[in-house]
Symmetry: C2
Subunit: 464 residues, 2 copies
Amino acid sequence: MNLDAAKAALAHLELDDTPASVRAKSRDFFWYSPVLKARLDHVVADFVVSPRNEAEVIEVLRTCHAHDVPVTLRGAGTGNYGQAMPLAGGCVMHMKNMAGVREIHPGRVICEPGIVIRDLDAITRAQSGQELRMTPSTAATASIGGFVAGGSGGVGSVRWGALRDLGNLIRLRVVSMEAEPRIHDFTGEELHRVSHAYGTNGVITEIELPLAPAYDWISTFVAFPDFPTAAEFGARLADEDGILVKLITVCEAPTASRYFQRFRGHVGEGDHVVLVMVAPHAMPAFGTFLTRWPTGRMIYRSDAPDWPRDPGVAYEYGWNHTTLRAIKVDPAITYLQVRYHGPDFLSTIERIRALFGPELIQHLEAMRENGRTIYAGLTLVNFTTEERLDEIIRIHEDLGAMIFNPHRYTLEEGGRQSTDARQLAFKREADPKGLLNPGKMIAWDVPDWDYSTIYSYAGLRPAP
Amino acid sequence: MNLDAAKAALAHLELDDTPASVRAKSRDFFWYSPVLKARLDHVVADFVVSPRNEAEVIEVLRTCHAHDVPVTLRGAGTGNYGQAMPLAGGCVMHMKNMAGVREIHPGRVICEPGIVIRDLDAITRAQSGQELRMTPSTAATASIGGFVAGGSGGVGSVRWGALRDLGNLIRLRVVSMEAEPRIHDFTGEELHRVSHAYGTNGVITEIELPLAPAYDWISTFVAFPDFPTAAEFGARLADEDGILVKLITVCEAPTASRYFQRFRGHVGEGDHVVLVMVAPHAMPAFGTFLTRWPTGRMIYRSDAPDWPRDPGVAYEYGWNHTTLRAIKVDPAITYLQVRYHGPDFLSTIERIRALFGPELIQHLEAMRENGRTIYAGLTLVNFTTEERLDEIIRIHEDLGAMIFNPHRYTLEEGGRQSTDARQLAFKREADPKGLLNPGKMIAWDVPDWDYSTIYSYAGLRPAP
């Protein structure tokens, strides 16, 4: 790695090597995990470069390739799996300057990767009355490129499924890291090469995404005295094809009373709360549905607010914002990423709840998978040790709940613990020197890794 | 019944008693059924009145109530269950003049019942870029009021479920037939009193419906060499939450080659054809999905047409237009209305297909029910006798397929063969003399009817 030569060659670009600033831009939300916090807290790049256009992206990649400098991509750094952490140092390529919206059509938008999702939504809404199908709970700060490269779903997945499902990504333009970087336009099956690849095998420079009609979604909160009823309410609501909703979040007690500060006084310690975003014209039907659940109590609706302090939009209590709010109150909290599916997913959740008691606090997000309603679990965990955390994960898997482990920084460990042949094949082609986000794809480094312990990237720079 | 007094009192309205014209307006598409054709062909009203507004509706109802004249509602008469046939004669109230669109908002429209659905869609599309969530295949001629009063779903149900599902109807304004008619605004659970009630217990004068974004839907036809694969393709496509479609119709061979005239030369006798309406921005994903089905062959797409004669929109080959096209070629054809659901619905369909062979030609429409993809069957039947038709129905029911019998003219027999207590209770209130669409609600006439044979309304006027 010839850092000085690379920096000199790139000095005419927006380049930052101020230590404090580089350190800040070398971090994402990896610290949600005490396991990753312990391993990655010292990780820092050598410099940050923020290209303004695709030509500059190509220049950075060509230069870093020539000088063997690793390049780790980042948007806003709101990811949780350490995906934007530059394990081997080198260059962080920050995409904030590539934030243009190129075209808006009925049903789709073409944009650059660095645009903040809320800004993108505001533009498509103002110009066309449309919005993204799905966004993370961090839409206010996250970039769309980071979401595509590292996300899997979110607000809107209750209607549209996951980001990887057919139709939820239309096209990605990608630059490779070779002596002479090449540009690829990926559609169809080829999208899987680079979507959710943490930037390990290419740099996304343009994104085409489907749009849905924008509504002035109404946030509603419904409290239940028992959790199984709250979970069933959410699942059955998601099954109502005629009631247009964008979010159904189920938070086990005492999440709302303890971690949602603005809920204080509106919920008790025993209240399980379901957060729902409903289209305005679906509110009458939602009201009818609710009357069929006699123990459900609507405690808030944003179109007729009666709380002295506005709680804000529902989605900022859902998905990983639930975790964030819990950690802010209790730093000992961490979380799991679970998938409950199959015909008996509600009883699987109950079996797990019975087994663990207060060590785990259930948090469920309704979503669609293969045409069915399922729950994603972003369970809050009262963390004790790594060993116990691994044990909790094993017990989930034994009970038929799939875990996407957020305490691992590699693609495989955070996914299905198997090689994604498409991603690996494209990395061989697009990143022959293995310089793109090194350490994040086990299949590249150690193809026969057995996954029984956390992968430890050999190239991880030691703490200074 | 004092016909002359009623006619005299209503003479200042748009009233028609020309025999040929009254006879034409006394009929719907009941003749799809040879059973109903035999029983109802002679049915005719005494006069037709076409109110121009709600005040005139009230006047007609008050007058006919005073003179004991039955009133049967009709829109365009595209129903198939004889729902608009004036069994006891009297007055047909034709809603064609009440065709206004009152308000259009994001996600909803308020209109009068007599507007033709295609006209309504054109107006919402032009003024707001929105369209109805679901329409019958007869949208070009059917009225929205007739659809609400007699329909159950259609094009769009693959996404939104059935018309009766929560959220697919927002509000109905209804006038009762009493000495002093009253006006009711029904929402929520009360909608079930009068939706799909054939106008037996009130006259709908205003309708509020949800809207969805309008797209320039692309019609595509895909041919398969074997039927089970075609059926599975349709069901799995409906499960793709990210691929926005509005219609998935599966037509067993030789439907397309024999009954779809414009398909000639593009399909052979052995081709099973799946008709799909796809949003333009979902076409790339649909194409990707299709490549996963190696035996599927796209024979037409409306955005790149290569047929010498344009086949027109896909939905006019689906739902009951399939039946219509078959009957036009072969008048011996009739049909069934089936519901295939449960985890093994595809194998139920195959068992039925194996059992009947060419006597039945399968026609499936993908729709959503309780959050799941299911198939509605509008099976084409080579009709021989009523007895055989009843036997075919019994065999379906024995195999777990639910039948909505289109060879019956009552609400109960065309539905679940049980009393709808809500509809009956409201009829007691809103139509104390039983003058609204008499003969269509068994629960009103003969509460202990046993459903083993076709209901025969005692008040049915004999053929002259």
